[in-house]
C-alpha cells in the first residue's frame, strides 16, 4: 500500500472502491466490483484474480438491471418483485418513531 506510481493514488482508490462496493451492496448489486493490487511482476496473481472474479460474476448471473431499449415494462418486470418473501424477515417491522431519528 502507498507504493503507487501516483504517490498516494491507491489510498484514494481503495477508499473510493470500498465506498462503491458498500453503496452497490445497499442497493442489491453486491459482488460485482472488485479491487486487487497486482504489480507488473505478478502475472500469476493477475491470472488468479481475473479467473476468480470471472467465475464469481458468472455465478452471480447476468446483469440484473433492465435495459430500456425495447420494452420498458417488460424490462422492469424482470427485476421488480423478485426474491420477495424468500428471505426470512423480509418485511421489516414498522420502525418506532424514536428509532428513526435518534
Amino acid at each position: 500500500m502507498g507504493d503507487c506510481h501516483y504517490l498516494y493514488g491507491n489510498y484514494m482508490t481503495i477508499k473510493r472502491i470500498t465506498f462503491l462496493q458498500e453503496l452497490l451492496t445497499f442497493l442489491g448489486l453486491e459482488g460485482r466490483i472488485h479491487l486487487a493490487w497486482i504489480s507488473s511482476a505478478e502475472a500469476q496473481k493477475f491470472v488468479q484474480v481475473v479467473t476468480d472474479f470471472t467465475e464469481k460474476v458468472r455465478a452471480l448471473g447476468p446483469n440484473p438491471l433492465p435495459t430500456f431499449s425495447h420494452n420498458k415494462k417488460a424490462a422492469l418486470s424482470s427485476v421488480l418483485g423478485r426474491g420477495m418473501g424468500k428471505t426470512p424477515g423480509s418485511s421489516p417491522p414498522e420502525p418506532a418513531l424514536q428509532e428513526v431519528y435518534p
Binding site: 500500500m1 502507498g2 504517490l7 498516494y8 489510498y11 484514494m12 481503495i14 477508499k15 473510493r16 472502491i17 470500498t18 465506498f19 462503491l20 462496493q21 458498500e22 453503496l23 451492496t25 445497499f26 442497493l27 442489491g28 448489486l29 453486491e30 459482488g31 472488485h34 479491487l35 486487487a36 493490487w37 484474480v49 476468480d52 472474479f53 467465475e55 464469481k56 455465478a59 440484473p64 438491471l65 433492465p66 430500456f68 422492469l76 427485476v79 421488480l80 418483485g81 423478485r82 426474491g83 420477495m84 424468500k86 428471505t87 424477515g89 423480509s90 418485511s91 421489516p92 417491522p93 414498522e94 420502525p95 418513531l97 424514536q98 428509532e99 428513526v100 431519528y101 435518534p102
Partner: protein
C-alpha cells in the same frame, strides 16, 4: 430577533438578511435589507423550510463581496459547514441567527424535528422501500429483493429534478444529471438506477441529511435514506462526518494512509 437583525443591518455587519417574511400568514423566504427595515416586523421563524443557504450561495456567486445574515437551524449550520469546505461560501461573510428547530411532536430526540415520520402505504410496503426504515433493516432483505425494492422506487422517478433543485449543497454550474452521455433526454423513467446512483455518489461528503430532497420528491422516493447510507459509508471508510466541522475536508483525508485492504473474492455467496 428583529432587533438583532436590525442592528446587524444598521451597523454593517451584514448587507442582507435571509429569513422568512409572513405574507398572508404564509412564511416565505425573504431577503431583508437596510433600505426596507420596516419589513423586519414581518420576520418570522418558519415551520416550513427553504434552503436559505442555497440562496446565499447563488447570491455569493453573483456578488462575492456581499455579507449575508440568515436564520439558521441545525441543518442550516451543517449545510453552511459543507459550503465553507467546498469553497462556495466564505465563513467571514456569513452571520447566522441561530434558531431552534421548529416545533414538532418529535422535538425531544429529533435531529431535524420538522420531518414528520413518513406515512407509508400498503402497496409501497409490499413492493418498495419504507422511507422510515432504518439502514440495518434493509440488509434483512436478500440481494434480489433489495434490488427489486429499490428499482421499484427508482422507476417511479419523473425526473423533475426537484431533489437537486432544493438541495442546499448542490452547486455545480452544469449538472451531471443533465449530461447526454449519462442520462438520455426524453425518456421516463430516466436511466435507473444510474440517475439515482450518480446523485447518491455526488452526495458523498456533502449531504447533511436535511431531508429537503425527500420532502420535495413528488414520487416519495426514500432519498434521505439513500443518502444517509452514503454518508454512513463515508463516515466508516473516510472517517469523516459530513457537516460536523467547517475545517476538515473529505479530500484531505482521501489521500491519507489507510488500513483498509482489498476484500478477498468470495466465490460462494455474496460479500456484503
Amino acid at each position: 430577533m428583529q432587533d438583532t437583525v436590525k442592528a446587524w443591518l444598521e451597523n454593517g455587519t451584514i448587507d442582507v438578511f435571509l429569513g422568512y417574511k409572513k405574507v398572508d400568514n404564509h412564511p416565505l423566504p425573504h431577503c431583508f435589507t437596510k433600505a426596507r427595515l420596516e419589513e423586519l416586523e414581518d420576520l418570522v421563524v418558519s415551520p416550513d423550510r427553504y434552503p436559505l443557504e442555497k440562496i446565499a450561495t447563488h447570491m455569493t456567486t453573483a456578488k462575492p463581496e456581499v455579507k449575508i445574515g440568515m436564520l439558521a437551524r441545525d441543518c442550516t449550520q451543517r449545510a453552511l459547514n459543507v459550503l465553507y469546505i467546498w469553497n462556495q461560501l466564505d465563513p467571514e461573510k456569513i452571520q447566522t441567527l441561530n434558531v431552534n428547530c421548529c416545533p414538532s411532536p418529535l422535538k425531544e430526540k429529533a435531529d431535524c424535528s420538522y420531518l414528520r415520520p413518513a406515512t407509508v402505504g400498503d402497496y409501497k410496503k409490499e413492493k418498495g422501500v419504507n422511507n422510515a426504515a432504518l439502514l440495518e433493516q434493509l440488509s434483512e432483505y436478500g440481494q434480489e429483493e433489495r434490488l427489486g425494492r429499490w428499482m421499484y422506487e427508482f422507476q417511479k422517478c419523473i425526473k423533475c429534478y426537484g431533489c437537486r433543485n432544493i438541495c442546499p449543497v448542490c452547486f455545480c454550474k452544469e449538472c451531471s444529471l443533465e449530461h447526454e452521455d449519462l442520462i438520455k433526454t426524453g425518456a421516463l423513467p430516466p436511466e435507473i438506477p444510474v440517475f439515482h446512483l450518480i446523485r447518491a455518489v455526488h452526495m458523498a461528503g456533502r449531504c447533511i441529511d436535511c431531508g429537503l430532497c425527500e420532502e420535495a420528491c413528488p414520487m416519495d422516493i426514500p432519498l434521505r435514506l439513500l443518502y444517509r447510507k452514503v454518508n454512513d459509508i463515508v463516515a466508516q471508510v473516510f472517517d469523516y462526518k459530513t457537516g460536523t466541522s467547517a475545517s476538515q475536508s473529505p479530500f484531505n483525508i482521501l489521500g491519507d494512509s489507510v488500513t483498509l485492504e482489498p476484500k478477498p473474492i468470495q466465490l460462494t455467496g455474496t460479500d456484503s
